[in-house]
Amino acid sequence: MSIPDTIAAPLPEPGPPLPAARRPAPSPARAAWRVARQAGAFIASLALTFLGLTCVTFVIGRFIPADPVLAVVGDRATREVYDKARLDMGLDRSIPEQYFIYLKKVLSGDFGHSVITSQPVLYDLMRFFPATFELATIATIIGVAVGIPAGVAAGANRGRWPDHTIRIVGLFGYSMPVFWLGLVGLFVFYGRLGWVSGPGRLDVFYEDILEPRTGVILIDSALAGEWGIFWNAFGHLILPAAILGYIALAYIARMTRSFMIDQLSQEYVTAALIKGRSFRGVVWGHAFPNILVPLITVIGLAYAGFLEGAVLTETVFAWPGLGRYITQSLFNADMNAVLGGTLVVGAVFIGINLSCDFLYKVADPRLRAP
């Protein structure tokens, strides 16, 4: 048997080097044009999404069974009063016309008055949303700061004790009802140990001292240098934030673990080990940057969920937040308030989505424009 000729063939001369993929450096004018175009596309998509959102809130407002006129004048009003209110509200006009009136009002910040608080809805929202924002932000920070390291540790030690411990702690987190956790937390840390303050955002003693600038008490008090108020607010905030944060943590840790396990089986991880990097170095230096895109999605969704208002937590902790505001308005057919709240929630989701889209590009070069 002879060897085929192909085996005996000498190694061919290496061919000419492949041309390096070359792109001419963009001129400043072109670069500026590209940035302008991207910014334009961004603003256009933002405007379109927001327009869609107002359509949705408008349609909800028109087609729910509650009579908006009755909600304003009450069910004992006379026929004349009712008709006059109906005319004043523009309900006799065509639907497109009504929509444009609505849009114009929304754009000028006029959401009408709330029936229950008898304040402009915008004023209410500016009071309730910062409370929710404060709670949601601290809760998400806790969830991220603890959940990510826990998830990475679990994924990197799959099947060993850190993994089991974190799984059990996490399982507890997303299977306990939040109101129960809230009540037990209040009982132990407020009632028995006295480590934290009770329900509400501030002690009565401190209320209405602070001039609201952002509405976020932690920021306002820090800006005013009122550290007494700051620490009081912090004492009130920390328990509900920790409980919401625990739920976020459980979710974030579980997702991080599975993203991590997926990445650690990739070839580039082996390559990094072959280069002589320690396992810990490979986990944080190579695998972790590769889980950022899905992780941003998970964190964004958790944060958006909290910003929508955590009704149960807000109720247990008497927290004057957006969730409770919208729920109470809904029970009282207070449509202006419900629509205003819906618009805020929608805008929050748009904002979070856009931030995520931006962060994806920071995290992964493959998602950047070529």
Binding site: M1, S2, I3, P4, D5, T6, I7, A8, A9, P10, L11, P12, E13, P14, G15, P17, L18, P19, A20, A21, R22, Q266, E267, Y268, T270, A271, A272, L273, I274, K275, G276, R277, S278, F279, H286, P289, N290, L292, A363, D364, P365, R366
Partner: protein
């Protein structure tokens, strides 16, 4: 070839537990390597890649490695503790993997990945590492090192990616390079080019090379000596030029199975296996 072999492997055995019994991927493999080019050929699952991983101490959990002797330049690799391995991998033994699409980190710039190996093993400033990385890119015949340095892996072709991989694995000047099917994922035209670069660098630096492949043609033209593996064992060892005189029926069947352009066949030859080969 120097007097004392660079790498000595004696009775290397790798087993994976599963379903209540041990599956042996590598069974009693022994060979010695000087500063030469050793080819390991065999089909998928013959244990050639696992042998390479065992030499690097990177057999995936729960694999179990045992050997009577596994030494690199007098260092007993079996006795190394985890932190001691960090000074061996990349610095003394390195490995070029199959497909740059998967073996380069997609979110780290090429230059950073090459510099990382250098900075793990050599003292020196970032600037020095950068200069060395650019030199290395030049050595693997990348025409515009400055440009490629700032590129991400997805912006490179397969051939360029593999050359960057070679640069990354050779920058710390290891004594032994394991090339695990380094050209299998590349176009045939690029294959020869990459092999040429590998050949040149290995010769220039006097490294030992273990070239793992299932391609007899490449191995016989590229290596000095060939080991043929089958079912986790070495069934044949011969000089690359003496492959024609191979005695083991499996090797002969492998050679016969390689198609030839000059004598096309209607039907490709397949290998008829004999259970006795595993004894």
């Amino acid at each position: 070839m120097s007097a004392a072999p660079l790498l000595e492997v004696e009775a290397l055995d790798v087993a994976f537990p599963g379903r209540g019994r041990l599956t042996h991927a590598v069974r009693g493999v022994s060979f010695a390597l000087g500063r030469e080019r050793l080819g390991i050929v065999g089909e998928s699952g013959s244990g050639k890649s696992t042998t390479g991983r065992a030499i690097l101490g990177l057999v995936p959990w729960p694999g179990m490695v045992s050997a009577k002797r596994l030494t690199l330049g007098g260092i007993d690799l079996m006795a190394l503790r985890p932190h001691e391995w960090l000074g061996i991998r990349g610095r003394r033994i390195s490995m070029v993997m199959q497909d740059p699409k998967y073996s380069l980190n997609p979110v780290v710039k090429i230059g950073e990945q090459i510099m990382e190996t250098y900075r793990l093993h050599r003292r020196g400033s970032r600037r020095e590492a950068r200069r060395r990385a650019l030199d290395m890119l030049d050595a693997v015949r990348i025409r515009d090192p400055d440009l490629v340095f700032h590129r991400y892996p997805h912006q490179l072709s397969g051939g360029m990616g593999q050359r960057a991989m070679i640069a990354m694995m050779l920058i710390a000047e290891p004594d032994l390079l394991i090339a695990d099917e380094p050209t299998s994922a590349l176009d045939v035209t690029v294959q020869n080019h990459v092999l040429g670069i590998l050949d040149e660098l290995v010769a220039e630096r006097g490294m030992g090379l273990i070239f793992i492949s299932h391609n007899l043609t490449i191995v016989s033209s590229f290596c000095d000596r060939v080991l043929v593996m089958y079912g986790g064992r070495i069934v044949e060892e011969c000089a690359a030029s003496g492959l024609a005189a191979a005695r083991h029926p499996y090797t002969r069947a492998l050679i016969a199975a390689a198609p030839s352009i000059d004598r096309p066949k209607a039907e490709l030859t397949t290998i008829t296996r004999d259970p006795a080969w595993l004894q």
